[in-house]
């Protein structure tokens, strides 16, 4: 305690205030995510209702805004059951794996700009890892285990099918997901989310062009599709697929453990939207209020957070819109889309944009180099296609 109070990491530079700030930020981000998930679930139910001329939840609180809170409290006070055939330890552990990875992935997101708290300059970001993107990939990969273990440990058939689907689905889309991110990384040249965001900083309308959504548009589209697939959101929600697998991996879960899965699923979705905003849409960048002081609390604290949330909201509305409009894909079609289209497209895109960037730096003639690289990419694609196993072999391999 003596040591810890003054210098917990023994590095000589970090004092108690900083520790408190970090703890405060952690709690704040966690609370923010929880509230965001609750509001998102309510928002989703309301928008889907709107899209069908309905009213949606309106009895819990004003406009039903407390609906998710009611769901949560109810689930918390519900009895829990474990199937006899379940692997009890894994069964208990699985939901927490899902939740933790979903939260940890969010920790690298820059929510706002640099602010000063109690004289300390700090970023509105939980952790700015130099390898932030790798951490993100690791977390989204780990999140898979929550779902997979849940299905496997339930010891019954529908969850098992759901878990098999989950592992196959995540494997297929992880690659496309990573390659889409590489599309940004070759442009940004850094793995730190903070640095990526700073490269897209707002300097006027012209800076819209520096947002990676424009130079890396294809990567953006691939990212969105594979992110939705990674989070098991419709139309890729095969893992739960109520009409086919009853509830998929969480069929046997009750009460609070089910609530945690529910929470983790939507937390993942918000995290993915936030990552998309960070990588492609400039993160918290956006015009500040010119009539207020540029260093005042509104423009340093509020406006970046506002822009960040606004951009995330737009993406989240998109997910709800997808949910309302599209039927669900079939298992093999999902794999086809992932393996046969997204990965290859992402691959070519990475090659082409890599050539462009190198070419720009080296002063090559881009008009000659870009078509050449495209041809090369297509050539590799052809070889890949030719050597690719057919569908049934592929499915077997994955299973």
């Amino acid at each position: 305690m003596m040591l810890g109070a003054g210098d917990p990491l023994l590095s000589g530079k970090i004092d108690l205030t900083v520790v408190l700030i970090v703890i405060g930020k952690t709690v704040a981000v966690f609370a923010f995510l929880l509230v965001a998930v609750m509001l998102y679930i309510w928002f989703m139910r309301k928008v889907i209702a709107d899209m069908a001329s309905r009213v949606g939840p309106d009895s819990a609180g004003p406009w039903g805004i407390l609906q998710s809170l009611a769901d949560g409290i109810k689930l918390f006070f519900k009895e829990q059951s474990v199937p006899d055939s379940a692997d009890r330890r894994v069964f208990f552990l699985a939901p927490y794996i899902s939740l933790m990875t979903a939260f940890l992935a969010f920790s690298i997101i820059p929510i706002g700009g640099q602010v000063s708290i109690a004289g300390h300059q700090t970023y509105l970001q939980l952790a700015d890892l130099p390898i932030g993107i790798l951490f993100l990939l690791a977390m989204s990969g780990l999140g898979l285990y929550g779902v997979m273990l849940a299905g496997w440990s339930s010891g019954s058939k529908y969850p098992l099918l759901g878990s098999v689907r989950a592992s196959a689905q995540m494997l297929s889309y992880e690659a496309a997901f990573g390659l889409a991110i590489v599309g940004v990384l070759v442009q940004a040249g850094t793995l730190s989310t903070r640095a990526i965001v700073e490269k897209q900083a707002w300097t006027g309308v012209g800076s819209l062009g520096t947002w990676y959504v424009i130079p890396a548009f294809v990567a953006f589209v691939i990212f969105l599709i594979s992110a939705i697939a990674e989070t098991n959101h419709p139309p890729f929600d095969l893992v739960e697929a109520e009409q086919e697998l009853v509830g998929g991996f969480h069929t046997e879960y009750t009460g609070i453990r089910f609530a945690i899965f529910y929470l983790a699923e939507f937390m993942n979705l918000i995290t993915m939207s936030a990552i998309a905003v960070t990588l492609f849409l400039g993160g918290p960048a956006g015009p500040s209020l010119g009539f207020l002081s540029a260093t005042g609390p509104v423009n340093t604290w509020l406006m970046p957070v506002f822009w960040f949330i606004a951009k995330v909201m737009v993406l989240l509305f998109g997910t709800v819109w997808l949910r309302a409009s599209l039927p669900r894909l079939r298992y093999d079609q999902l794999m086809d889309l992932g393996w046969k289209w997204l990965i290859e497209l992402a691959f070519i895109w990475v090659m082409v944009s890599g050539v462009i960037i190198v070419g720009r730096n080296e002063g090559w003639n881009l008009i000659a180099v870009v078509p050449l690289s495209l041809l090369g990419g297509l050539g590799i694609l052809g070889v890949l296609r030719a050597s690719m196993p057919n569908r049934s072999e592929l499915v077997e391999e994955i299973l």
């Binding site: 889907i48 899209m51 069908a52 001329s53 309905r54 058939k157 529908y158 099918l161 098999v164 689907r165 419709p234 139309p235 929600d237 095969l238 697929a241 109520e242 009409q243 086919e244 697998l245 009853v246 949910r323 309302a324 409009s325 599209l326 039927p327 669900r328 894909l329 079939r330 298992y331 093999d332 079609q333 499915v395 077997e396 299973l399």
Partner: protein
């Protein structure tokens, strides 16, 4: 797409392969019968009775055997239902899965067996409609109509012109609501959340019109032997024409939402294919049969009511897959709307119930005037009317196919036997051959597009 009688006959007879295939089948069956004792022994061994999955060889139907699948022993048997969101009530599918692929499937039914045929024997012909209407609860008026037609055949009476047109309009309205329900549940099964809500929305409008006319949303008890329970209410034209417009707008929405949607197409095109020959062997009727390129619709081919006096097309397609079944039902709604409009325009006046004192209760006003009317009233509502002995089979085209009513009378007020041939009961047999070799998600699509109504299957 309108077919004249000659064209239709040509289409039907032009297909010679059907009769040729007979010999092969006979051979297949001969092989099977050798297996029969073995099968019997197997079933005794497991003692699972009707819940046992039969060996693959069983499902050989006329027109050639189904392609066999080689499992690698890594299969798993799962039960879908009877409590499962996509089994349309209480159908239970036993499926042997190899990974996600269905190797074998067997529908197990009876979970909604209501004993309606027994109850039908205990109710008089006057009460009978209350019973049959609850069989196919999605299109209750079809059931009432077929029962009433059967009783009228036994009684040998002709119903008045107005009753015929009223019945036709009601049944077509009911066909619309039934197909809308199919669109809703089919969309839900494929994961299209809002399609379900749109389907319910338009269906609700149709139900409200039916409620204005009959007083009930479902299970109307409105079409009676001899006519209808009551005349059309005041202002029915506006209500019916209004709902026609709403339904058309709704169908346009569904069309935009799903028909061209690439995911929808990839989920349904080429899934659950069945051929005309297989339909013939398995006694499959209705939209499933029409989706195989065989335009058989009793409304056209063996017209009843006044279907020969209205203009409509038989919708049929060639591929026999889920997508075609979806499209057929979508466009049949529009044809039904067409018929309903013609009914509104051509509705004749006059009596709407047979004016036979022994069958139809007297008008209320006559009870006070005439002792005889009062006696008829009492007799009809206590012991019903007597039906001459005999047996008959009446059939109409319900939204799901040929619904038939086999009625046997012994001259008393209650039938000896009231059997209803529910089209879903037979169509359900198509599910297992369609499913084999497909994936679990396809199984859902196949059940859904066969549109079985368990009330009618189990009766």
């Amino acid at each position: 797409m309108s077919l004249t009688e000659e064209e239709l006959t040509m289409q039907i007879t032009g297909d010679s392969s059907r009769t040729d295939s007979g010999d092969d089948v006979a051979e297949d069956v001969a092989e099977q019968s050798v297996l029969a004792p073995e099968l019997k022994r197997l079933s005794r061994q497991t003692g699972e009775g009707s819940q046992e999955l039969r060996p693959l060889q069983e499902i050989v139907i006329a027109g050639g055997p189904w392609p066999e699948l080689e499992g690698d022993g890594q299969t798993m048997i799962i039960n879908m239902g009877p409590q499962h969101p996509s089994t349309h009530g209480v159908l239970r599918m036993m499926m042997e899965l190899d990974g996600e692929t269905v190797v074998r499937a067997k529908p197990v039914i009876g979970y909604l067996h209501t004993g309606m045929e027994k109850t039908g024997e205990e109710l008089t012909y006057v009460q009978g409609a209350t019973n049959v209407t609850r069989m196919d609860y999605v299109s209750p008026l079809s059931n009432e109509l077929v029962f009433a037609t059967a009783v009228e055949q036994l009684l040998d009476v002709e119903v008045p012109e107005r009753a015929i047109w009223m019945r036709m309009m009601l049944v077509e309205l009911n066909r619309i609501s039934s197909h809308l329900l199919f669109q809703a549940t089919n969309g839900m099964d494929m994961g299209a959340v809002n399609m379900m809500l749109y389907g319910w929305r338009e269906r609700e409008e149709v139900l409200r019109v039916l409620e204005i006319i009959t007083g009930l949303r479902m299970n109307h008890n409105f079409i009676r032997p001899g006519g209808l329970a009551a005349d059309l209410p005041d202002g029915w034209q506006e209500a019916v024409l209004g709902v026609c417009k709403q339904v058309e707008a709704g169908i346009a929405d569904y069309d935009k939402l799903l028909t061209e949607n690439p995911i929808w197409q990839s989920r349904t095109v080429g899934v659950g294919v069945i051929t005309t020959e297989q339909c013939m062997a398995l006694s499959i009727t209705g939209p499933v049969l029409r989706s195989t390129g065989f335009p058989w619709d009793l409304r056209k081919t063996q017209p009843y009511l006044a279907y020969d006096q209205v203009d409509f097309d038989v919708i049929y397609t060639d591929n026999g897959d889920c997508y075609d079944r979806y499209r057929i039902r979508l466009f049949e709604v529009l044809e039904s709307v067409k018929i309903v409009r013609q009914c509104v325009a051509k509705m004749p006046g006059g009596d709407y119930r047979v004016q036979d004192k022994k069958i139809t209760p007297p008008p209320r006003a006559r009870i006070d005037e005439s002792m005889e009317a009062l006696i008829h009233h009492f007799k009809l509502f206590t012991e019903g009317f007597r039906v001459p002995p005999g047996e008959t089979y009446a059939r109409i085209e319900s939204p799901r196919g040929e619904i038939g009513c086999y009625l046997v009378s012994d001259g008393t007020g209650k039938p000896v036997r009231m059997h209803v041939r529910g089209p879903s009961f037979y169509n359900l047999q198509a599910i297992s051959p369609m499913m084999e070799g497909r994936m679990v998600a396809d199984a859902v699509a196949i059940i859904s597009t066969c549109d079985p109504i368990m009330g009618e299957v189990d009766r």
